[in-house]
Every structure is written in structure tokens, then in C-alpha cells.
Amino acid sequence: MIDWFLTYYPELLKGILTTLELLIGSLLVGFIVALMLASLHHTGKKYFTYPINTFVFFIRSTPLLVQLFLIYYGAAQFSLIRDSFLWPFLKEPFICALIALGVNSAAYTTVVLKGAMRAVPKGEIEAAKALGFSPFAILRHIILPRTFILIWPSYTNEMVLILKATALASTITLLDMMGITRQLIAKTYDTLTGLLAVGLLYVILTTLIVGLCHLVGKRFKRIGW
């Protein structure tokens, strides 16, 4: 296995980079979208909550692989999309994987955020209202800071899940860690070494994420957030 790393480290390094880009990109997309959806859901207006609940239900009840194929292969079916300015982006496997993973992460994060927003003590919101905070200021200064602390453990989990999900991007020809490994295996026929080597890389990344998040979580506690 050491030989494997020594021989193919330039390719593997590229793969790690692609995986990390995809991971960070889709987490960012997912978190921003989830933040907007959860804030809209928090208003309790039916014309917000119904569509958001439907979106979350659809994404959470279907396999990620299906969503990925739906975006990457499915988009080509419509000439409207093929002729639009979006096509140069939508035919890129990286962009498609980013959209699929981002949307997927958004749905799962929305659920977590929704629950955490509801857990903010009512008295704090009432106090802020009494002090004349605008609804946006309440969201920005009272609800969100508390929400972040509350969701941190679940969000760590989400990060690991998305890291593992990035491996699926190899099925739409993206050369992430898994894609590179599959390519190298096809070339060398050394299946077991290749799979174990990439497994080791995934475990290292998972451990890093969990470890870093634990440290950040401790810091949250120390500054009394």
C-alpha cells in the first residue's frame, strides 16, 4: 500500500483536492440555502412552510445517486436548457455534483436549523422585542448565534455525511479521490490495494473533520456563546 501512495501520489493529491473543493463548495451552498429556507420557515407563513416542507421531503426521501443523475444526465433532455446560457455550466460534472450535493445538504441542514431555531428561549425573543429590535435584528443577533451552537454537533455529522457522499461524484466521471482510484484500478488491476488506500484517505479526512469540529465546539463553550 505504501508503494501505491509513493507511485501515484500526484494523481491522488489531485483527487484529494477535488474532493475537498467539492466538500467545501457543497457545504457552503447547502448552508446558505438552508439558512434562507429555515429563516423563511421560521416566519410560520403557510406559503413559505408548505413549499419548503415539500422540498425537504422530496430530497430526503430519494437516493442522492438519483438526484445526481437527474441533474447531470436529466438536464440534457430539455432543449430549453441545452440552448440557454446555463448549459456550459450544467454539462460540467463538477458543477452538477456541486448542485446535487449542495441541494441535498441544504435539505438536511434545513431540518436541523428548523429544530434549533425553535429551541431558542421565547423570553430572549420577547426581551429583544421589548428593546425595540427589528425582526431581522432579532434573527441576526438573538436567534442565529444560539442556533449555531445548538446545531454544531449535528452539523459535524452532516459534514462527514457529505464527505462520504462526494464519492458518488465519481459515477458522473468526476475524478475525485474515488474517481482517480477507479481509474488507477482499471489501469493496474490492483483492486484491493487501491480500495484500501482510498479507504485510508477517507478515514483520515473523516477523523480530521471530527477532530477539528470538536476543537471549534470547545472554543464556542469557552467564549461563552
Binding site: F58, S61, T62, P63, L64, L65, V66, Q67, F69, L70, Y73, G74, A75, A76, Q77, F78, V160, L163, K164, A165, T166, A167, L168, S170, T171, M178, T191, L192, L195, L196, V198, G199, Y202, V203, T206, T207
Partner: protein, 223 residues
């Protein structure tokens, strides 16, 4: 709209369901075995099991599937010294079962710990042996605590079955792939697959809700 491909999709869905039920049975067995090993008196057993389950939880599902299917063939070749073909169906069942078991074992261990020790003592005082105590007293109660998490794992397992199309099984997903390439309508067919999965997960969710109600039927409700 599906241009006559619906029967094929449903046939694929049947295979998907078969595979999912097989993997669920394998997964529950591994959950039980794993939970007992995690609580084993012998430190080496409990540490190894903990290490193994944590390792599996850190690996992408796709990688576990490939390792079981492609790696299994190689390992079997080295053990028996002649090529043995691994069925992709059983590789799929085993891989999904292992993933379920790795999460399930840790969940079930927590559930076992939530049963007060007095229950075991009472069972022994009544003359039940260890085996009877586990089967009649501990497991039915632990089951209630573990059910919500195991239910979530079941839903994840059902969705992960889409991956087995990548090791050449003619499940729902690969039927849709074939239909999509023949008709040049990928969106239609992948959307149909999404809807079928949506229906399947909804049915499982309803069943899980019923099972949860049944497992909690003796718990007093708040007046």
C-alpha cells in the same frame, strides 16, 4: 409517458425491495452481534468491534460496496487458491448489511445500557437463566429505545440500494439507466425512479410509525 417501460421499472423495484429486505435482515443480525461484542467482557473483542464499526462509519457507502464485491473475490481466491465468483446480489446484501450493522451496533449498545440493572437482577431472582433474561426481559425493552434510530437506518439503507446498480445488478436504477439511453429521455426515467423511491420510503415510514406505536403500547400516556 414512460413509453411502456413501467413494467421493467417495477420489476427492478421488486429486486430493489428484495435486496433491501435481505440487507435489513443481515443488518439486524449484525446489529445484535455487534452490540453484544461491544459489551463483551473481553477488552480485545469490544475494542476490535468498536474500531471496526467506527471505521465502516467513516467510509463512503460506495467504497464499502466495492470492497465487498471486488475485494471479496480476491480474498476468496487467496483463501481457496482457485477463482470463486462472488454474486453481486449477495455482495450488495452483505455490504448494505454491514453498513447498517456498523451504525446499528452502536445504537443498540446504547439501548441495552438504558435498561436498568435491576431488571437483570429481578430476572435472575425469578430463576431465568442468562439467555432467557436477554430474550424475554432485556431485548423487548431495548428494542423500544432503539427503534427510532434503527428506523432511520432502515430508510438510509433503502436509499443506499440505488448504489447496487454500480456493481451490475439489474435493480430499479439500472433499469432506468437502460431505458434512458434507449429513449434519450433521461430526466423522465430518473424522475420516475425518484417517485418510486419516494413512495417506497413513505410506505416504510408509515410502517415504522406503526411499529413504534406497537413497541410503546404499554407506556402510559401523559394525561
Amino acid at each position: 409517458m414512460l413509453q411502456g417501460y413501467l413494467p421493467q421499472l417495477l420489476e427492478g423495484a421488486l429486486l430493489t425491495l428484495q435486496l433491501a429486505s435481505g440487507a435489513l435482515v443481515a443488518g439486524l443480525l449484525l446489529t445484535l452481534i455487534g452490540a453484544f461484542l461491544l459489551d463483551s467482557r473481553y477488552k480485545i473483542l469490544s475494542y476490535t468491534t468498536f474500531g471496526f464499526t467506527t471505521l465502516i462509519r467513516g467510509l463512503p457507502e460506495l467504497l464499502v460496496l466495492f470492497t465487498v464485491y471486488f475485494g471479496g473475490e480476491i480474498v476468496l481466491y487467496h483463501v481457496f487458491q482457485h477463482p470463486i465468483e462472488v454474486s453481486n446480489y449477495w455482495a450488495g446484501v452483505l455490504a448494505l448489511g454491514i453498513i447498517f450493522g456498523a451504525y446499528g451496533a452502536q445504537v443498540f449498545q446504547q439501548a441495552l445500557h438504558s435498561i436498568p440493572h435491576g431488571q437483570t437482577e429481578a430476572a435472575h431472582a425469578l430463576g431465568l437463566n442468562t439467555w432467557q433474561c436477554y430474550c424475554l426481559i432485556i431485548l423487548p425493552q431495548a428494542w423500544r429505545h432503539a427503534l427510532p434510530s434503527l428506523g432511520n437506518l432502515t430508510l438510509i439503507l433503502l436509499k443506499d440500494t440505488a448504489l447496487v446498480s454500480l456493481i451490475g445488478l439489474t435493480d430499479l436504477m439500472s433499469r432506468a439507466q437502460a431505458a434512458a439511453s434507449q429513449t434519450q429521455k433521461p430526466f423522465t426515467f430518473y424522475f420516475a425512479v425518484a417517485i418510486i423511491y419516494l413512495v417506497l420510503t413513505s410506505i416504510v415510514e408509515i410502517l415504522l410509525h406503526q411499529a413504534d406505536r406497537r413497541a410503546n403500547r404499554h407506556i402510559r400516556k401523559v394525561q
